[in-house]
Subunit: 128 residues, 2 copies
Amino acid sequence: MNRKNKGTNAERELIHLFWKNNWAAHRVAGSGSSRYPACDVIASNKIRRLAIEAKTSKDPKKYLSNDEVNQLKEFSEMFGAEPWIALRFDRKDWLFMSLEDMKKSENSYMASVELAEAKGLLFEELIR
Amino acid sequence: MNRKNKGTNAERELIHLFWKNNWAAHRVAGSGSSRYPACDVIASNKIRRLAIEAKTSKDPKKYLSNDEVNQLKEFSEMFGAEPWIALRFDRKDWLFMSLEDMKKSENSYMASVELAEAKGLLFEELIR
C-alpha cells in the first residue's frame, strides 16, 4: 500500500470512530493539494467542531512541517473549529495532540511516542 | 468532460466563491459514495455553517432523489449546519434553495428555473 493510500485508510478509520460515537465526520477532498488552508478530517457533534490533521507513524517520532500546521491553524480559525493533530504510532491507539503540546522547532512540529502518551488525549477523552 | 468531473468542477467553482468572500469551504471526499450521510461542500464563516448539495443542470428542471435530500438533511442535523441546495442552470448564476422551497413529489425534489429564480438566493444573499 502506498503512502497516500495508507494515509487515506487511517483517515477513514477515524471517520468510522466518530460516526460510531454519534459525531458527523468526513474527509476533506484534496486536503493535501488544495490551494486553500485545509485539514484532513472535519468532525462535529453540533456543539463542537474539530479540524484534524491525521498522521500515522512507523517511527517513534512524528514530524509535521510548519506549513502543515499553519494550514491547520488557519483553516480552523476561519471555519470556527478546534485544531487537533491525530497521531497513530505503530501498535498504539490514536492520540490527539493540541498544537501547544507539540514540540516546536524552527521548521517543524514534532511528537514522540512518549510526548504523545504524556500529553495526548485518547479518542474517548477527545470527544468527552 | 464526464458527468462526475463536471460536478466536481462546479463544486470547485463554489469553493472559490466562498474563499473569495472570506468563508472557509471545502469539498467533502467521496460525498456521493460514502456510507455515511454527506453533502458536497461544507462552508463556514465561524458563525454560520452551510452544508451544500451542488447541482448543475442543462435542463430547465432539476430533480434530486429523496435519498440525496435525506442525506443532506441528516448530515446537516448531525453536524449542526444549514442544508442548502445549490443549483446552476445553463447560463445562469448559482441559486441557493432551501429544502422547503423545492417542489416535493413522491420520489424526488425538483426545482425549475422559474422556481429557483423566484425562491432561490443569489450567492451574495446566501452569505449576507
